[in-house]
Amino acid sequence: METLKKTSTRKNAFKKLRSEEKKLGYVFASPWLIGLLTLGAFPILFSLYLSFTNYDMISKPDFIWLTNYRILLTNDSLFYKALFNTLYHVAISVPLGLVAGILLALLLNSKIKGMAIYRTIYYLPNVVSVVAMSLLWLWLFQPSFGIVNNLLSPIYEFLDMEPLLWYQSSDMSKMTLIIMGLWLVGGSMIIYLAQMQDIPTELYEAADIDGANGLQKIIKITLPLMTPSIFFNFIMGLIGGFQVFTTSYIMTQGGPGNSTYYYSYYLFDKMMVDNAMGMASAMAWILLVITLVITMVALSLNKYVFYLGDQT
């Protein structure tokens, strides 16, 4: 009887704690929530309304029901081209970024002298403006005079092939921008690194006693325990990937031949160049739905994520 009482009191205390935590959570989130409701909610809902109109940013918008959506989905050849370019970018850049970030984090998790400097160096590109970075890579990838092709020239000679045209070729341009994006992998590397350093050393010690080698420890301990941060970077990468715009805008202006004309770029042009704000709003909502569906599917992978505190 006494035990039951004790259990019930403990449960109530736990409930109270949860409720207080909940309240505190809302308090801490309130600045963002207030910002969203006062500054973000109206434009978001207004853009939904505009997506059903032919608003051209000057005239009074006329309600045209689902015409914008119908046109985009059935009679706009560039819509699918831009969508394909974006999906291509997401499909390659997100996994590549994950792998590169993890490898870098593994390298920078070693205990060698001057590691803090290396970590800083690898993170540094993330504080460089995207515009400056794009211009820099434009020079590096110059087909005739750029450093990249100069470094690769022995390979070209060995394979008896013409130097790659990188961003100047419609076949290579998307890949060029993806490779360039890897320069920013230091951002996710920091998150991986933080999680790696959180892994209890006892696990590695136990593995050592069991005779595990380095690779086995990475596969059996490090990677499983890093899945929360891998999952986080994956979801963020997906969402960010669908919004790719700046590098293409600066480096290739969507070309050559629309090969780097991404969805967000087309949306931007619809609004700023074609003055079709209604159509641009419809594009934004379609993008939201696509991103939402893909993210929801991706979230189902959560069951494979190993949270260290869960098993207790």
């Binding site: 940013m57 000057i58 005739s144 013409e162 100047q168 070309g255 700023m272 160049v273």
Partner: protein
Amino acid sequence: MKKVILGMLILISILTLSACKGGEVDERIEIEFWHLSPVGDKSYSQVKQIIRDFNESQDVYYVNGTGFSFWDYWDKLNIAVASNTAPDVGFSTIDDNIHRAERGVLYNISDFMATDIAAGDDTLDIDLFYPSQLRFLTYEDDLYGLPFTATTRMLYYNLDHFAEIGLTEADVPTTWAELETVAKQLDKVDGTDIERIGFDPTYGQGTYMGYLWQAGLDFFNEDLQVTLNTQEHKDILEWMVTFNKEFSRSQLNAFGEANTILGIDPFAAGRVSMMIATDGLYQTLQDYDSSMNYAVAPIPLPDEDGIRVNWGSGFSLELYKNGNELNNKARGSWEFTKYLMSTSVQVEYSEAVGWLMGNKDAMDIVAEGNPIITALVAECEYAVDKVYIPYAPAWHGGDWFQYYDELKAGKLTVQQTLDNARDWYNEKQTNYNDTH
């Protein structure tokens, strides 16, 4: 002590907030003017002085000028017009003025002029401006903007290069056939590397639409329906992209990239002997303090029957309604507009920013004793702006370049380029009609 600190803080806050209003506090009606000479720009002080001179001459109106960078200005203006927060007076582009006039966001300039005349006041002399520009600013027989600047495109040629191969100004080409003959003599190759190109129709401001106009053709007919479907359209595009066919694509690519790396205009760098460019290239050469011996000539014609015409864009000066009916602010804006368009101020503005201005008398004064500016101003008479296509406002830009770039890269044939472009314009028109 706490009270003293609090008092000081309140005093500082009040002083800071008062300073935000600006130096001048008076009863005059404030006019907002947006221009393209931001703080830090070399023309900033002179433009500020032009505004100050107006303010000093006024008891009723006061102009508050704000300068934006060229690259920021257009997006800011578009958004401001959409949200009724545009300046009272501002620059815009001449070719799409009709788009804004049609939608009622601009004051009718003709009405202001009629009011001036009825009241016996001085008004603007429209004869001072180029008729071709005024035509673009006219909607339903009324003016909705004024041509603040003019632009023209001409053939720049390097006389040092000419002299090097024994040619003189008398040899400057006037037809495409002559252009080809002279250009090939000016080409310079070192092994497989191109050192200099005589001329390339795709360089600088050489545009397909410009060459079409010279042959009496265009992208669109009078009903704004896309054409691009005749053998002549095909031939001209073929001529453009095969002009330097004796060089391989990789040679031309390497030459183009070297120009980019230099970061200087290829004509200014002496790497191209003849090039079509705007009056802006004259300013670039002035800024470089170039010792190059060069001159300008009308763009060579397809043949003797060709039409002397060039693409002449420019900035319009417009008065934004921002949802208001005619009021004192608008009248003040009109007074300031007349001031900006007057001959003396147009001269001052041209000297400040280096632009060709819309006021012909002003340009005669600026051009006096300068053969290059004289030639550029004379060519403005043959300048025509591109037509505004509501269903494809960027028809000459992104809409066309998506295919043109592929043609230059050898991915599309001339026929495919024209077919694809035509299909794209038609698709845009259908979609536009479905939503309007």
